[in-house]
């Protein structure tokens, strides 16, 4: 028995030792003085950029990711000092503004602020963030249908195809509440910011009808599944299209004629931010034209950085799937923050779908 005990202890001690050695200094043991806590979408940055930022500024980045706005929000609501900079979507920025979870950005600290395309800044200023006080846009895009041309014969130009029985078991729907309801709302010709219970109920019935045809409700997995050819049709963010097409040339992206959602993700600084200076440095770093371009190359989401466009291929710049034209955009709406009650209502209807 004794030898067995010793053996177990020795092996465990060895494991521990190995862990300490390979732990790469493991984060979170000690709070270093110059630390920036960044909360971003999963795979939404070229990780080398983080290392470069750390090297250039001497600021240590604690990097964490979320997969939906809704997952991120409650953590910040509970304690806004958990993270220093976050990259939510515009409607979530509005919600955070209204609930006093953010602090204004000091534009004078952003040397590269002029790189942003003013057209987008105006849109955001008009609809979300008057005077662009809080949100520095990072990526933007639309939501549409990605389809596999070898599996779909019909012309895809409408959300209706997601209700076509022919493609039963081969349709991927978005798993986030607003995106799923957006599809139904647009199909029925409603606004995607509807708060009318009758309209939402109609959408819920429609989504329930679609339920048996859906292969899975997905978030980011849609990309890999479409590339692997596991599904014929998938609701996807426009930014994934370029990556998917590179990996599998059979994939095409369409923005349905009924219209869709146009969204902006941007950096905000939390109210409880513990390192405001570093937060500005971070945002400014990402605004640099070359860095913005590298991130575009890596994540393939359209950038609102005008200065970065000089590096991008003409062919990609003119691809309406990546950078939609004016006419397409006129059919799209932005999500607005609808208030807690309306959000609860959306969620209650969403639960009835599944």
């Amino acid at each position: 028995m004794k030898r067995k005990v010793m053996l177990i202890c020795a092996v465990l001690a060895g494991l521990m030792f190995g862990a300490v050695l390979t732990g790469c200094g493991g984060s979170g043991k000690k709070q270093e003085s110059n630390v920036l806590k960044v909360y971003n979408w999963g795979e939404y940055i070229d990780e080398d950029v983080i290392a470069e930022f750390e090297e250039e500024t001497g600021i240590k980045v604690v990097y964490d990711t979320f997969s939906t706005n809704e997952e991120m929000y409650p953590r910040i609501e509970a304690d806004s000092s958990l993270y220093d900079v976050i990259c939510p979507s515009e409607y979530m920025v509005k919600k955070m503004m209204e609930n006093d979870l953010l602090q204004p950005v000091d534009w004078s600290k952003l040397e590269n602020g002029g790189n942003l395309n003013q057209a987008y800044m105006k849109i955001l200023s008009d609809q979300i963030d008057p005077g662009n006080k809080y949100m520095i846009p990072y990526c933007w895009g639309t939501v549409g249908i990605l389809y596999n041309t070898t599996l779909v014969d019909d012309t895809v130009d409408s959300w209706d195809i997601l209700w076509d029985e022919k493609y039963s078991g081969s349709i991927l729907m978005q798993d986030s509440v607003r995106d799923a309801f957006m599809v139904a709302e647009k199909k029925l010709g409603y606004s995607l910011n509807s708060t009318d219970p009758a309209e939402l109920e109609a959408c819920q019935v429609l989504l329930k009808e679609q339920y048996p045809l859906v292969k899975a409700y997905v978030i980011d997995e849609v990309r890999d599944k479409m590339i692997a050819g596991e599904a014929a049709l998938g609701v996807i963010y426009s930014g994934e299209y370029l990556y998917c097409k590179n990996e599998n040339p059979d994939l095409q992206y369409v923005l349905p004629k009924e219209g869709s959602n146009v969204w902006y993700d941007g950096w905000v600084i939390t109210k409880g931010c513990g390192n405001v200076d570093a937060a500005h440095k971070w945002i400014d770093f990402l605004l640099r034209a070359d860095i913005a371009y590298r991130n575009f190359e890596y994540i393939t989401y359209a950038t609102p950085n005008k200065a970065a466009e000089q590096y991008i291929d003409e062919e990609i710049l003119s691809d309406p799937g990546v950078f939609p034209d004016e006419e397409t955009l006129s059919r799209c709406e932005m999500y607005l923050y609808l208030g807690q009650d309306a959000e609860d209502m959306y969620y209650e209807y969403w639960k009835k779908v599944k």
Binding site: T68, E70, E71, Y73, P74, E77, G169, D175, V177, Y211, V214, K215, A216, Y217, V218, A228, G229, E230, E343, D344, Y347, E348, K351, K352, K354
Partner: protein
């Protein structure tokens, strides 16, 4: 002696701090309106169809899962007991080994077999079964049985190894055949093992949200998913706490019933 009693004090403080108070927090949130003030709304919300359905599905799946585990594990434990010790210790080792792999990876691994292009998927297609496997109740059930089977095997095996060979031989000498030995000697003696196996399989399968998340294609909501989502995405903590309170009561009541049978079994033993 009194001095030693004092040693239980830190434990009491610990348990109050990390078990009792946290559970009271669930009550606190569960019986509170979002805007403050007492309400039963969140607890009663379990009766709403969009919550009741997942609860019933969870119940059904976990009961079936427990039954399947018992049916698979009992003969297994019996075989292991009858095998000689050296071999059986090796076999037990083989059964513990998967538990040392990460729970999520174990479940995720099934996707490699069940999803499009996976071995099981291809076989099923060849056998004429059309459609997806992932996203069905069967896939979730499979994942549950896979993950929780060892929790049934181990206590059963434990209970069986405690049975003395003399007891069995005595029964045989008295003219009992193999079936009678199994039914009238081994079965009653392994009752506590059965009860603890059932507990260890039933509770996690009733409340899981990971297995359904991974193997259910997020098409199927179990009660665990509902509660997890209320906290993580819907940010309606009061509702989530109210529903978890109901779930907790549910578990405690079923455990009490099981325990009742357990003590009955012990009395028979005595």
């Amino acid at each position: 002696m009194n001095k030693r009693k004092l040693l239980s004090l830190p434990y009491l403080v610990w348990m109050i701090g990390f078990t009792v108070i946290p559970l009271l927090m669930i009550l606190w949130y569960g019986f509170q309106k979002k805007t403050g003030g007492f309400t039963l709304e969140h607890v009663l919300a379990i009766a709403r169809p969009e919550h009741l359905k997942p609860l019933l599905i969870s119940l059904l799946l976990s009961v079936i899962c427990t039954a399947i585990c018992l049916v698979i594990a009992y003969p297994l434990a019996l075989i292991l007991r009858k095998a000689n010790l050296k071999k059986s210790s090796f076999v037990i080792f083989i059964f513990i080994l998967p538990m040392w792999m990460n729970f999520l990876l174990r479940t995720y691994a099934w996707l490699n077999l069940l999803d499009d292009g996976g071995l099981v998927y291809v076989l099923m297609q060849k056998m004429g079964f059309k459609g997806n496997i992932v996203g069905t109740y069967s896939a979730i059930l499979l994942g549950m049985v896979y993950n929780y089977l060892p929790f049934m095997v181990l206590p059963l095996y434990n209970a069986m190894t405690k049975i003395d060979d003399f007891t069995l031989n005595a029964a045989r000498d008295l003219g009992a055949n193999e079936r009678q030995v199994n039914l009238h000697v081994i079965l009653p003696l392994t009752f506590p093992g059965i009860v603890s196996g059932i507990t260890m399989v039933f509770v996690p399968s009733l409340t899981t949200f990971v297995v359904s998340d991974l193997l259910g294609g997020r098409k199927i909501f179990l009660i665990g998913n509902i509660i997890e989502q209320e906290f993580s995405t819907a940010s309606n903590w009061n509702l989530g706490a109210g529903l978890s309170f109901v779930l907790m009561i549910f578990i405690l009541v079923s455990m009490a019933i099981l325990n009742h049978y357990d003590t009955l079994g012990e009395e028979e033993e005595a």
